[in-house]
Symmetry: C2
Subunit: 152 residues, 2 copies
């Protein structure tokens, strides 16, 4: 969708390589009513999508400062430095923003599995066949490590 | 995060290859207060993340029936068959669900650019360097086609 925000609109037609101060871009990010923005974590070298999580402004700033992914945990209602209890840290390798400033794409180097089930990716459930009536949800991946060893 | 939903919890420890009726899985998806769930569109062969959008239950069912991505447009407040006006259709090649049933990952074959700016991916803005004070937001990709030709 076209953005109604001048900052993002202006970038659409700017030449490749054009730059803006990132600190100003952060001020223009579109957070939702809870002050959150979606963040996709993608393994930087394989392209595997690992998980989708949420960030608030503070967790984004922490992620940049510490060069590791820090999210806002909606279930625990607090900052969540990915791997703080499991050790499964996501080193931050890059950050992208989408065309209307309301989604982030993190390039990360995932240490161990990203998923609390012990799997590399949280997207471990796949639809087998696209026929709704016949379609089956299938477990595509086994845990790489015993999840009970992750959280002690 | 561990899910509080028995359906997703039960799958965590089921063997690889285990199957569930997909129609039942859809009933267990976790839609937000607006009845929406996040959907990441990823180019099926290159792994490039193209965009993040939202689906409601109906748009998901349409996507499966028509084997092309159909989203819920929050700005237009209506169903949005991707490419309906631009021609930039996303053929659906696969669908995954994450561990707690609140995010979708679509494998698509994107016809032309996914982004309304004429770029392949909506994530065309990248942070150059991870230092917040020195960091610059940079335009990484040029449009592949003139965006004014997309919407007439």
């Amino acid at each position: 969708m076209a953005s109604s925000n001048e900052f993002w609109l202006d970038l659409e037609s700017a030449p490749v390589g054009s730059q803006r101060d990132f600190s100003k871009a952060i001020d223009q990010l579109v957070f939702n009513e809870q002050g959150l923005i979606t963040a996709i974590a993608q393994q930087f070298d394989t392209g595997e999508v690992l998980m989708l999580a949420w960030m608030n402004r503070e967790s984004l700033l922490i992620s940049l400062q510490e060069q590791r992914a820090c999210y806002w945990s909606r279930s625990r209602n607090r900052l969540w430095r990915k791997g703080e209890s499991s050790g499964q840290v996501q080193s931050l390798k890059g950050l992208r923003i989408d065309c209307d400033g309301d989604a982030l794409l993190l390039a990360v180097d995932q240490q161990g599995p990203a998923c609390h089930t012990g799997r590399k990716s949280c997207f471990y459930l796949g639809l087998k066949g696209l026929d709704l009536k016949e379609g089956q949800l299938e477990i595509l991946n086994a845990p790489e490590i015993d999840p009970t060893s992750l959280y002690k």
